[in-house]
Symmetry: D2
Subunit: 343 residues, 4 copies
């Protein structure tokens, strides 16, 4: 079997990571590669690491150029997916790495993204209970945001088992700067980001906040509230999320740990690390993995869960390929590295 795949937005970081993974996929044939302003140029100019595809020419992102493929990945700026998607038929599997179809509530969408809500698609986080089944055979997938992927996986077992107060969740997540994309802006210059850490989107205004809450709400016995602060640090890739919440009565470390081990025992890409070993983003570089560790702070009565993930792999393109595998009936783990590139 061979799945013919197109990538829209191939010159960006998400597009490049999709192509890195898809190039190693045994059942995929890479078809059209499209771009906006970079149409007409060679892929190798933008992604010199993609050696086997370097000579490919980028074409315009149009429905015509994307037609004739089994799967189309959309790695476009937020707000551009809906327009293209509606021109692609139901026989095409569309996997959107953008935010257009992630949120189910129209008013929340409008509050955080502005403009009109395009609707919602099956949410591409197979590790959510029951979600894997919904993704098998689907022809539309909304790939989660990077922060929501890691934050949800870090908090879900505690919330789902009623071990913490879901109304007082606090997430501070440090991130490499590739998450901010490839459009050049002064504050993303190397000279600015090296040697510096800075917070942004503070105070609940980051667009990933409602997505985390949406993910956890079905599993919580009380309203979910997440205080989310992202912090840019001098790395190209990687997210380390420090998540905490007040523990519910009777929660102890053994109970908490068991909840996580039970939740992820059979998950191929989520690892609860051995006791005493704390996650480091380097161990997940280029891999489709999330590494977790947890502690219970007796002085404060808070559970603290720390999770590491590569924002471009499991956080975007790897998660998207995982969804493609499910959607097209392939083995879910195909072409998804378990081993990161370290040091």
């Amino acid at each position: 079997m061979s799945v013919k795949v197109a990538v829209a937005g191939a010159s960006g970081y998400a597009g490049g990571e999709l192509l890195r993974l898809l190039s190693a996929h045994p059942d995929v044939e890479v078809g059209a590669l499209t771009a906006g302003g970079n149409a007409g140029t060679a892929l190798g100019q933008h992604h010199p690491h993609l050696v086997p595809l370097a000579g490919r020419t980028l074409v315009e992102t149009t429905a015509e150029n994307l037609a004739g493929h089994d799967v189309v990945f959309l790695a476009l700026p937020h707000g551009q997916s809906a327009g293209i998607a509606e021109q692609l038929g139901e026989d095409v599997t569309v996997i959107d790495c953008g935010a257009d179809f992630r949120l189910t509530e129209a008013e929340v969408w409008t509050e955080f993204y502005g403009g009109e809500h395009a609707g919602s698609w099956p949410y591409g986080l197979p590790e959510l209970p029951g979600q894997r089944e919904k993704l098998r055979g689907t022809n539309r997938v909304a790939v989660p945001g990077c922060y929501p992927t890691v934050s949800t996986l870090a908090l879900l077992p505690a919330v789902q088992n009623g071990l913490v107060d879901p109304g007082q969740l606090v997430v501070v997540a440090v991130s490499g700067t590739s998450g901010a994309g490839k459009a050049p802006k002064p504050h993303l210059l190397g000279a600015e980001v090296m040697g510096s850490a800075t917070a942004y989107g503070v105070g609940g205004v980051h667009r990933h906040t409602p997505e985390i809450e949406q993910n956890l709400t079905p599993y919580a016995d009380q309203p979910v509230s997440v205080s989310f602060t992202p912090v840019l640090v001098p790395m190209s890739r990687g997210i380390l999320a420090t998540c905490s919440a007040p523990i519910a009565d009777g929660t102890d470390l053994a109970v908490l740990r068991k909840a996580y081990e039970d939740a992820y025992r059979n998950e191929p890409f989520v690892q609860v690390l051995p006791e005493g070993q704390w996650p480091q983003t380097q161990a997940t570089l280029g891999a489709n993995t999330v590494q977790l560790q947890l502690a219970l702070d007796q002085r404060t009565g808070r559970a603290v869960i720390v999770a590491a993930m590569d924002n471009l792999t499991k956080g975007t393109a790897g998660g998207a390929v995982q969804c493609m595998n499910l959607a097209t009936g392939l083995d879910e783990t195909l072409a998804l590295p378990l081993i990161g590139v370290a040091p």
Copy 2:
């Protein structure tokens, strides 16, 4: 007037930063420089940036070598200050950059550091209400830890004015790796830390946790509890602390902001940034400054305060020199840069 100063532990990072600042001090004469294993070597081997002092030879850290100075800075591993300090007379001003004399409660000391409590000295954070006066003319100063300095300054106005619940404080602080010192350990190797973020001391076990609580407790109307998680990120210097707490009834952003502006209006080294501008550690590199910004998250009812600081300058050696200025009757701001080195 000229103050003759000795630095014990001159080959480490805190010692080097002390000497960088003291070399530019108009009223200081740099005397003995001592070390442990590095005694007998030239300072320039360890600190090639200290050009004017590079030819100086390090001598053994003994009371004899430290005698005859007006001020002795101790930049020694934790637990080594007490033994030396008791051999230095009351006519010598001793400023300890270590942890030996920071905590007032003996049992807390023993819980977090082990061994016997040596006592407590005037705490070297002049920005605490009333503390500046206690430091003027004192002959003993316990310089705060780096995380406690930035976390305390970030939380104090909110706690002191009853604007947040002091029992549910959460601090996640990213830090450059110089804070871990110069003793070579595998996890601090460049190849390990570049491209990686990792948490440590999670779950309230970091030694700076009780120090933050001790600092805030006198100003709180309820018991103070801090969930503190430090995160190592790929920078040499700098701490960015993201602090949050549930707001008290009636707290709004204007009230919160006013509390911070009032608290720090006359503080030379603490700046509340203009609205919309978030702190970045690079702006404080090598400076004795703390930069702050705040937000109020209406969805979660939490105040979020973000603060940037150089762990070696205001967080250690700059804070120590500020205390020396006060203790010896000099202008508090002498030789302390307001301007960081950026980009």
Copy 3:
């Protein structure tokens, strides 16, 4: 077919990279993992990125523990390979990532490494003319040093075709710090290497100098002389070598370029980039590739060739696996990524 493989020195950087590649090899079964001081600990403590092998226990590096494997990789400190190798029978394929068997001249060995010369083994650089055939079926391979691999490939076509003066070669190669290994030393601490560049082994004293000269000499019509200076820069991985030499009479850019394109047209892992595109190490991260570009400086009459490579992949472990593939009769390119992890 399945090749049973042991890795001696599995807790170091070369060992970790070998295991990353071997884990994805379709024809390899990973057997014993040995270490020195780390024997008895779990591999995952040292290499948390090696998820599928994390629970494996490291055993002592002894001939007994290495017996019973088809292939043994030695990733040991220089000088330790010879002792182990002589205890392994001729039916075991031994691939040495250390320097013990690289140099053919005993007196040069002694000059640069000290001690007695252990002999020389087939040199594991298949891209040298005729060398690929010598490696097929061999039971002993000396894997090249990282700098010699990239420098030799960068200079060979020019030297071999008589296009430059081989007596005046100049190589300045910047390198990430993983090349210095995992033993903790103060100058390799993150706080020292971040934000800093420094040269070392200047003046022809670096041990890789004679190896580069040895590699080029058979193809030169005059004595070969290489001025080699390595520079540590703040990266975990990667080497960028800037190589230059005076051009011979009649050399122009077209001739020079053709020599490189001809030399590497059929080499799977060496790419001469399209004109105008200069190598960057990031594009080779974790890949077994070398990327090259060249210029001819008319003012100075020098050819300048720049080459990028990952020191741990093609420069060490990838090169070693490539040799194993040849030695054991497998497809040379198996399990060797062509695509780097970028950005």
Copy 4:
């Protein structure tokens, strides 16, 4: 005495560094701060580290706004200085950090920069023999480029004393990315530059090449030829230049070393390091210093000189302030740090 100073181009990196230094200058009053597109905004938005000046508003770069100052620093894009300078009277001291007036040969200017040659001004490298006197009291200074400053100082004593062949000079200089300026370009994004090294301007086409040759030519007994290759590495600041040349007959290490020590014995900002200690850029961060070390490679007959410098301080703004001090009759070393910020 108080010198009233304006800075044109204050929102860029050179402008920011000028203001960092000038703010600590005892005899300077900072006047107008001008900008192009950033006119009308607060300086603190662009340079949050410049705390005491953060509230200043940038005004348009016009002759009117620059009038009425004793000294005007021009930190403008290449090609923009000449137009402004001719509108400033002879009673204003103009110090140009751009390239407009550096080269003396009109045809070389046109070859490397394009357009018409504006002329040449006294060259702001006081360490050149006799140059210090030419700069005293001048009202026009062309501040050298960063690479020419460090390369010239690294090569001059060897060339001037006839110890090397000036026709075969090779310079490979690694640089932090602030040297490329603050205009956002994709290849300067943090995610691109972190973890990557890349060469540019290879083959003698970098504009600093003729400037280095121009500097050395008056002191050489033969035509000077420099093969110059710059390499971007993941640092914000700093240049490490590795310079080499074939030695002349009779040159030995003692002679070479003596030439450097003699040349720089009385230079306040140039240090020949003790034997065995190699320069690292970190030691010069934010300082106006150049640190040098040298070796003689007996195998190849080449002298190798390595030099470290901060591109923004001694390489641009510090050098400019040094020239201002000379031009205005102040102590040459005022407000110029000898001590870098490390680690």
